[in-house]
């Protein structure tokens, strides 16, 4: 990280500006698409896909994850596995009752 030259940092700055523009566009899309009359499960899926896209841009470029060392990456993979558990295992216990 300390080996970044001024040219590399200036190149990174261009990336940051582009990511910012992309995030602004996606924010507009997020709000606009909420006015479309989707069925609830589809609306949730679409909203989460856009949010995941925005989040990935922040994580990859602002948080430098694209160029990060592998121990960090694999720590996050482990976290993601547990996060999936956290979201879905409790939900599985309620599968019989979804919708009523």
């Amino acid at each position: 990280m300390s080996a970044d030259s001024p040219e590399e940092i200036t190149a990174h700055v261009k990336v940051y500006i582009n990511v910012f523009i992309a995030l602004m566009v996606l924010t507009v899309v997020t709000v606009a698409i909420s006015y479309v009359d989707f069925a609830v499960p589809l609306a949730i899926t679409v909203a989460l896909i856009i949010a995941t896209l925005k989040g990935s841009l922040v994580a990859s470029y602002f948080m430098h994850l694209v160029s990060e060392k592998s121990p960090i990456y694999w720590t996050l993979v482990l976290t993601a596995v547990f996060f999936v558990f956290l979201m879905f295992v409790p939900l599985l216990t309620m599968l019989d009752h979804i919708g009523n």
Partner: protein, 196 residues
């Protein structure tokens, strides 16, 4: 005895203590907010009825706040880049902007909360309001924490630039990673609570 790898990286992992420390902390934060998101999912799925967020909450205000917070993430990463380019005045400008934008976010949030309370819409009124105030409140507290750290790095903490510039740059990077995470949480909070 000096603690090794505070600035220089370990040969085997390529990391220094700052990098590893902040990412492990962020991993625990993922589980914290993940737990609350999971609660939201369970509450909503198990509820007989659930309001549309847009009927109770202000989408325009939250959209504005989303833009403000993403903007503050950009200024934060620009602050770090300025330090890498050894430009202290630029760093102070961008860090100052980051703190300012964070305060704008908080002011808007306080206005939102006050507006709810004035209509007797307290957390106790409904499950939706309960989880809304809890998640956004905890997120707001994280913003306050970030403001405190960033203000420290802007003012008294910036003295370290003269004695240990690389260590100071690493500190700013760590604060930046925390700040981007707080932004990331809001990127998910906004559609989930306000738009769905």
């Amino acid at each position: 005895m000096e603690i090794p790898y505070t600035v220089e990286t370990r040969a085997d992992t390529g990391l220094n203590n700052v990098k590893l420390g902040i990412w492990l902390f962020l991993a625990s934060e993922v589980m914290l907010f993940g737990g609350l998101f999971s609660s939201y999912i369970l509450l909503r799925v198990g509820a007989v009825e659930w309001p549309f967020g847009s009927d109770i909450l202000s989408v325009p205000l939250a959209t504005f706040n989303t833009i403000v917070l993403i903007g503050s993430s950009v200024t934060m990463v620009m602050a770090w880049a300025s330090l890498k380019l050894k430009d202290l005045p630029k760093y102070k400008l961008y860090m100052g902007l980051t703190v300012a934008l964070a305060l704008v976010f908080l002011v808007v949030k306080m206005y939102e909360y006050a507006d709810k309370f004035s209509h007797h819409l307290y957390p106790s009124e409904s499950t939706f309001l309960g989880i809304y105030f809890l998640i956004t409140g905890l997120h707001g507290l994280h913003i306050v924490g970030g403001v405190i750290v960033n203000s420290f790095l802007l003012l008294p903490g910036a003295k370290m630039w003269e004695t240990a510039p690389e260590r100071f740059t690493n500190r700013v990077e760590a604060a930046g990673l925390y700040w981007h995470f707080v932004d990331l949480v809001w990127i998910f909070l906004f559609p989930v609570l306000y738009l769905l």
